[in-house]
Amino acid sequence: MANSPAILISGLTKRFGTVRALDGLDLVVEAGEAHGFLGPNGSGKTTTLRILLGLLRTDSGHAELLGGHPWRDAVELHRRLAYVPGDVVLWPTLSGGEAIDLLGRLRGGLDRRRKTTLLERFALDPARKGRAYSKGNRQKVALIAALASNVELLLLDEPTSGLDPLMEAAFREVIGEELARGRTVLLSSHSLSEVEALCDQVTIIRDGRTVETGTLAALRHLTRTTIDVELDDIPGGLADLAGVHGLTVAGSRVRFQVDGEHLQTVLRLLTGSGVRALTCRPATLEELFLRHYRITS
């Protein structure tokens, strides 16, 4: 059990009427890792999470959660995980503090000291009624409810949407501590800097299918590096070199992207052209992300 992945999904499909929400999705999250789950709006992230929670049935394919079956073993599995929905709706007449306690108890208990600490760190007033909270504060209630329990796995669906930058920082800090304690985190997010800061593994999906998965480092290797260089004289044929994209020239300054496997050839050409200044930047997640999404259009 200890070695089996926390989440193992392969070839998962799910239809809603004629809409194919998931179309052969694959996702593996090892125990103890922080896994970023990326994809444009409507690509199937929330559907995947709801299937993992046993809220939706699968049409075909395999889904395994903490060594169990997400639908059949839902109740037992839910004792070991906590979920922050993307769309947090609270009971209008219950206070935030009551909702946190209730959800924790329904899961099998919550750590009171931890609740107090988290309330402080996220600067949440627990005595207000659900209907009086702003979107960001509702999000905080769901976050604290999830984080105040001692669980193995955190399923987070865009957990920082609506949080201010200060609270986003608090979120990163807290999740960092959770990871240090050995928790597994699946983080669906549009905040790429957040995923970059927290996750070592990333899966990108589009139209219900996995298009890229692996460590951030490996993904970067597969993608283009941006080079910004000042040269004595600009070698002819640089633009035509294999693997060079988007070349722009401004005076003695040249800027372009180059595919990982052609880096060697390009650098050799540059060093023979009198390099005065050189910055080399690996692809940001954003570039990675945009590249994958633009393929559709």
């Binding site: 929670l53 809220l55 947090v88 503090g97 209730l102």
Partner: protein, 539 residues
């Protein structure tokens, strides 16, 4: 008709009217056709069953001697004509339906929209501050107008006098207008659509009660306190009094104007009363789905219990007065003896009628409390609960327990209070309380059946749970019209309420009660099983 025209902030109203009509393109026509249909069918049934004026007058005398009937339907103003009898039979029923339609439609397009946040989306567009309530009022007022036109057309189509038909339509539509006003005021006072509906329905309940008491006890002043009483006192087919129609219309205008004033004193999404702070920590009991269901529903249950207590006390206190009326009137006593009864039988018949009314209402409670499951699911509040260690069965059973237990509670309250009030007057409070409690509790299995129907729909067709309300409406209509239309027993027996023993007048046979319990159990189990197998579906 809005009373708000001329004020600023109406931009975009027509666009919103079109949006509302698009959203209600099925709901509104169904309501309108049912209301107009009930009246037209009643008229043709009466014409067929009582073709001779003599028969109709005899029926009118019987009605006049039966306060229990008058409590439900009101007084007869002209028994001699088919129109007069139709007005007696169908006015209250149709007016209550028009009021319900108005309340539900207004809330759906105002407070429900604010609660969901959609109003914010609309309000940020080129839409005036008053456009949302104005559009809701316009749509509902127009629906009532159309209902009135259809009623008029339907009745004149039956060959009834045009003036009476028009007065009948106007009386029903006018009550609809008044409750359009009541609902739009309620939508300003509360923050939740549920409470806005409850508040407006409570006003309808009080209006019904005042009229029922006034008519049964022949206290005109009481009936005049209620818009439902006004509807009858339009006297369709019995020397129409048009100024009463004007009274309905003016009251509606006043209410709408009041709502407009209230609306200007509050923010979008807020009620008039500021939100009170809650507790920073949950009480120890709030640790399971049942406790949550109780916490969410206890306020509603308290409201229902108070309503049942008020109704119980009033009806109970009134019951004995009926005996006095008979005692004072030898002619009436003779008539009653002729149809097989005396003062006691009259009292019991009245109390039985009251209990069956409470039974139907308790059915509405059970249905509503069960459908809370769907509300929680549709509004995404079920998701976080079911993502914890709570099984679907346990979660379903939580709200179901409140629904089933709550119907026992409110029926007990209704029975006990009626028994006590009646018993105190005749000097045997304990005996009457026990007797009425028993008679109220025999209604329980039938009300549970409604919870069963709601649960089955929730499991199988979660987006169509409103059909459960259609079932309740059908049962109510069967109870009201079944006898009049001389429907086949196989049809009237479809209603669970047809199997409720008349415990005050006959020995109770446990068979039908057991049957209802078994049917309910089967419905509940099937509903839970279906829910355990399906996807969660948001609205």
């Amino acid at each position: 008709m809005t009373g708000m025209t001329g004020m600023t902030g109406m931009t975009g109203t027509l666009m919103l009217v079109r949006l509302a009509l698009r959203r209600d393109r099925v709901l509104l026509p169904v309501w309108i056709i049912v209301i107009a249909g009930v009246i037209t069918v009643s008229a043709s049934a009466i014409a067929e069953l009582y073709p001779q004026a003599g028969q109709r007058i005899a029926l009118g005398v019987t009605i006049g001697a039966t306060p229990a009937l008058q409590a439900l339907t009101g007084p007869v103003f002209d028994a001699g004509s088919v129109g007069g009898l139709t007005a007696w039979r169908a006015t209250t029923m149709a007016a209550v339906l028009a009021a319900l339609m108005s309340i539900l439609v207004v809330t759906r397009h105002t407070r429900a929209e604010e609660e969901s946040g959609r109003a914010e989306l609309v309000g940020a567009g080129v839409v005036g501050r008053q456009a949302i309530p104005a559009a809701a009022v316009l749509v509902t007022a127009a629906a009532n107008l159309l209902t009135a036109v259809l009623i008029t057309a339907g009745l004149t189509g039956q060959g009834l006098p045009a003036a009476g038909a028009l007065a009948f339509g106007a009386a029903v539509g006018g009550v609809g207008w008044v409750f359009t006003g009541v609902a739009i005021v309620a939508a300003q006072l509360t923050t939740q659509a549920r409470t806005a509906n409850a508040l407006a329905c409570a006003v309808l309940g009080v209006a019904f009660l005042l009229r029922a008491l006034g008519d049964a006890a022949k206290v005109e002043a009481l009936a005049w306190l209620s818009p439902l009483g006004w509807a009858q006192r339009v006297r369709a087919f019995a020397g129409e009094r048009w100024w009463v129609v004007a009274l309905l219309a003016v009251s509606a205008l006043v209410l709408v104007a009041a709502a407009a004033l209230l609306a200007r004193r509050r923010d979008l999404g807020a009620g008039l009363l500021p939100a009170r702070p809650g507790l920073p920590d949950a009480a120890a009991y709030l640790a399971g789905p049942l406790a949550l269901a109780w916490r969410l529903q206890r306020g509603g249950l308290l409201g229902w219990a108070i309503g049942f207590a008020v109704a119980g006390v009033l009806f109970g206190a009134l019951a004995h007065s009926l005996g006095d009326i008979v005692g004072d009137n030898p002619q009436l006593a003779a008539l009653l003896a002729q149809i097989g009864g005396g003062a006691d039988e009259l009292t019991d018949a009245f109390l039985t009628a009251e209990l069956s009314l409470l039974g139907l209402l308790a059915g509405a409670y059970a249905l509503q409390a069960t459908l809370r499951l769907r509300g929680e699911e549709a509004e995404l509040r079920a998701e976080p609960v079911l993502a914890t260690a709570v099984s679907r069965r346990r979660w379903s059973l939580s709200h179901l327990s409140v629904a089933l237990g709550g119907s026992v509670v409110i029926l007990s309250v209704g029975g006990l209070t009626a028994g006590l009030a009646h018993g105190l007057r005749i000097g045997e409070p304990a005996g009457q309380a026990a007797r009425m409690l028993g008679a109220a509790l025999v209604q329980v299995p039938a009300t549970w059946t409604l919870a069963g129907i709601a649960m089955l729909l929730f499991g199988l067709l979660p987006r169509l749970t409103a059909l459960a309300w259609a079932a309740l409406l059908a049962f109510a209509l069967l109870a009201q019209l079944g006898e009049l239309l001389q429907l086949d027993e196989r049809i009237t027996n479809l209603s669970p309420f047809a199997h409720v023993p008349q415990a005050l007048t006959q020995p109770v046979d446990a068979g039908p009660l057991l049957g209802l319990v078994l049917v309910t159990a089967a419905l509940l189990l099937a509903g839970i099983a279906a829910f355990q197998r399906r996807d969660l579906q948001e609205s």
